[in-house]
């Protein structure tokens, strides 16, 4: 299932991403059929991308193991596809055997790739919840906040979503956890940096 496409970066051989993803799905589906059940394997979210209107990547979270080259190729394709969409079109795109759910907030596109059977409308809600969290944390978040504080954006995402699934449905709890973790970080940092700056160590 994994590692079927060996990437040879040095020789620059083309990598077949679809083959990988589809064969991953097929392998799992075959497993399920072997058990005799017909089910939609919910691998849920495959990846989430944030990018600007010029196509610059601001955040990329991958929930499936892929090589760097594969990731780059997929990102490029998806970004191109989404940027080509006209404003009046619906938020869902079929791409290979995945569905791309995207929404634009100001200058940033938030884009999730979900498995075909997924409820697209609730994915939109997930995206919206993440934006709300960012907004609450940064106070009227804008693209620059995410650029300069990308690691924080990741921390917030990782408190909200784990392995492609939402782990906490309460906005308050997510933000509280982040706050406390931030405080822990500051407590660890604070004494040292002050002394260092004074030059006493």
């Amino acid at each position: 299932m994994r590692g079927q496409e060996s990437l040879d970066v040095a020789k620059g051989r083309r990598v077949h991403v679809t083959g990988f993803l589809t064969s991953a799905f097929t392998a799992i589906r075959h497993e399920a059929y072997a058990h005799g059940i017909q089910c939609n394997i919910n691998l849920k979210m495959q990846f989430m991308l944030l990018f600007s209107r010029q196509g610059k990547l601001r955040l990329q979270k991958w929930y499936v193991p892929l090589s760097d080259t594969q990731k780059k190729k997929i990102s490029r394709e998806v970004i191109q596809m989404v940027l080509a969409r006209k404003p009046k079109m619906c938020s869902f795109l079929e791409w290979r055997d995945l569905k791309i759910v995207y929404k634009r907030y100001a200058s940033l596109y938030f884009c999730c790739a979900v498995e075909d059977q997924e409820n697209e409308l609730i994915t939109l809600e997930i995206i919206h919840r993440y934006v709300e969290l960012l907004d609450k944390y940064f106070g009227s978040v804008c693209e620059l906040d995410i650029i300069f504080n990308f690691e924080k954006a990741y921390y917030i995402l990782d408190e909200f979503i784990l392995g492609g699934e939402a782990q906490e449905t309460s906005k308050k709890n997510v933000l509280k956890a982040i706050e406390q973790a931030d405080m822990m970080q500051e407590e660890a940092e604070a004494p040292r940096s002050v002394l260092e700056e004074i030059g006493l160590t």
Binding site: S91, F150, Q185
Partner: protein
Amino acid sequence: MPAPIRLRELIRTIRTARTQAEEREMIQKECAAIRSSFREEDNTYRCRNVAKLLYMHMLGYPAHFGQLECLKLIASQKFTDKRIGYLGAMLLLDERQDVHLLMTNCIKNDLNHSTQYVQGLSLCTLGCMGSSEMCRDLAGEVEKLLKTSNSYLRKKAALCAVHVIRKVPELMEMFLPATKNLLSEKNHGVLHTSVVLLTEMCERSPDMLSHFRKLVPQLVRILKNLIMSGYSPEHDVSGISDPFLQVRILRLLRILGKGDDDSSEAMNDILAQVATNTETSKNVGNAILYETVLTIMDIKSESGLRVLAINILGRFLLNNDKNIRYVALTSLLKTVQTDHNAVQRHRSTIVDCLKDLDVSIKRRAMELSFALVNGNNIRGMMKELLYFLDSCDPDFKADCASGIFLAAEKYAPSKRWHIDTIMRVLTTAGSYVRDDSVPNLIQLITNSVEMHAYTVQRLYKALLDDISQQPLVQVASWCIGEYGDLLVSGQCEEEEPIQVSEDEVLDVLEGLLVSNLSTPVTRAYSLTAIMKLSTRFSSVNRIKKVVSIYGSSIDVELQQRAVEYNALFKKYDHMRPALLERMPIMEKTASNGPTDIVQTNGETDSTILDTKHLPNITQPASQANDLLDLLGGNDVVPVIQTTVPTKPASAGGELLDLLGDLSLTGGPTPTPAPSVPMSQPSFLLDGLTSQPLFNDIAAVIPPMTAYNKNGLKIEFTFERSNPNPNIAVITIHATNSSEADMTEFVFQAAVPKTFQLQLLSPSSNVVPALNQGSVTQVIRVLNPQKQQLRMRIKLTYTHKGSPVQDLAEVNNFPPQSWQ
């Protein structure tokens, strides 16, 4: 050494770069600094350096030299280090990397850390990208954490367990005990992740599924509480309480209720409640409704509930929000098979969606429209679909055209409508039509006997406009070849007949041959069409010239055809009429198209003319093999008449009752047969002699006169078929010695049951007066038992204005013809 620059500083600097080259330079400089800092094993700034590295990695630059540093950060005691370390691990250290496994020990330690946020970090990393080996090693720890009372950790452990199960399905069993009281949690986070875990287990194992069915009442209760409870600020989204949890519960209910009556029964009420009470003004409400509809359709719900679900989808279709419409069309496509009538009610809305601007919506609307077409709505739907075909993107055209053909074939209200529809598709989307449509269309056209004149006229007009669309051109040239005589005679009933001369038609066909737009296949079609017209048109010389030119064509296919046609003109001219006769109705079989030859014609030298290249002489096998005794005890077998030039072809396989009314469609019905008792074979006409009237030098078997009366003489000449000695090929020659022509001449024959007979089309149906010409027709008789050949013949014709009909028995066959 100065402290490495801060992360924000670096970001700011890089953003000032005005060109890609400038940026690359800055990045390379910084990378070098970072690398030397790593080499110095600087603990203080490792965290900062890795953070910068991660930023550069996001810009697309390589960062693999930071992998080990991430490991070191994870192993550090400082929380800041761990935070960046784990982030770096998730970005740089996925399972494809060699050093991935080195994380295992660190993660294991951190899973047991005293600080829950550290535990949280490690759970998150494991749950996002742990490899199967890692999962195997650490599953025990995860299972322990699944039983903790700390809800912060419990929810993460649940999702981590989901990941472990996905990677190593065999480990599913070990999490079973821990799931016992997961649903009694109050904490929504834990509830949500528990439902995800249960869903995953149920989907992977039927045993788990049956085990967890008992949870249905509990799930129903939780869902009910969510809906009925008042406003809860913590989980509220636009007035709805925790929609994420509601959706996941609905999904789990779907899996549990599928195929199980009791469970489905238990959830009927709550589903109805959710369906009716959910606020639909915002997307979140619709998301829940959508999930509810999916659940209702999948479980064994009562019909009222199903209708409710379809109606919800119908309302979705009218929603202004495109996303909702998209979702509705997708679900309707899934349900159209099972709840067809309910979906039909929303047909007009679906058809409107064809005009939507969004590509995904259009595609779904098209698929759904095809699913909804039936005999009642075919006219209206086809109008919309044809309009759609005109205006849609090229990617759609092929699918749309195929769909239209299928629908038209199934539900066409009339032949004329069917032909019109096909014409419309060919002219608007002709180049997108699939290759296999051409033979199907040809077969269809042949079957619509009364529409031949109309069809060929319309196709001819279409050709005049546009010869670029190959499928259209191929079908048109085939039809012109077949029905060219109808075209020039201006016989169209359905619309205003056009005046076109033979030369004009030949101009068009020759134009196809030379045009650059024509593919080799099209050229072959037009050459054959031209050849066929040699029996239907009078300008044979022109045709001969064209055919001989292509005898030296570079295209091997064309050359071979032309050479063979030439041979037909020169050596086998007497066979030409029979070979190029009108095609009979083709039986639609799965594989046979008009280009498949089922049976060769009765030429003696079948090797000279390779019948594969003359598609117009197909004789469906069914005709020859059909043996039905219509007359009970009588051993005379009615024969199947093949088509006569001016009369429309009778349907293939139709049997003619020789002794009853002859029902040739469209032709004048002859007077009823004389009432001859058919219980015993009786000679109706005596005095038939079998003396040969002339010696056929070439034939080994002497010819015979089968009938000679009232000026009409019919002679049989014989040939034995070489490949099959049981087949005798009889050519009849009908001559007329009276002063008036015999028109509408039809020759029919019947043989005893032990024989099989095949009658090919005659050369014409006018026997000119005063022996100025003859009508020839070929009969093939299969005589496997080598019995004495006997035949009963029936002749009908119009002579001097009055119809004449006669029956005769032919018994005096020369022995060589059947021994």
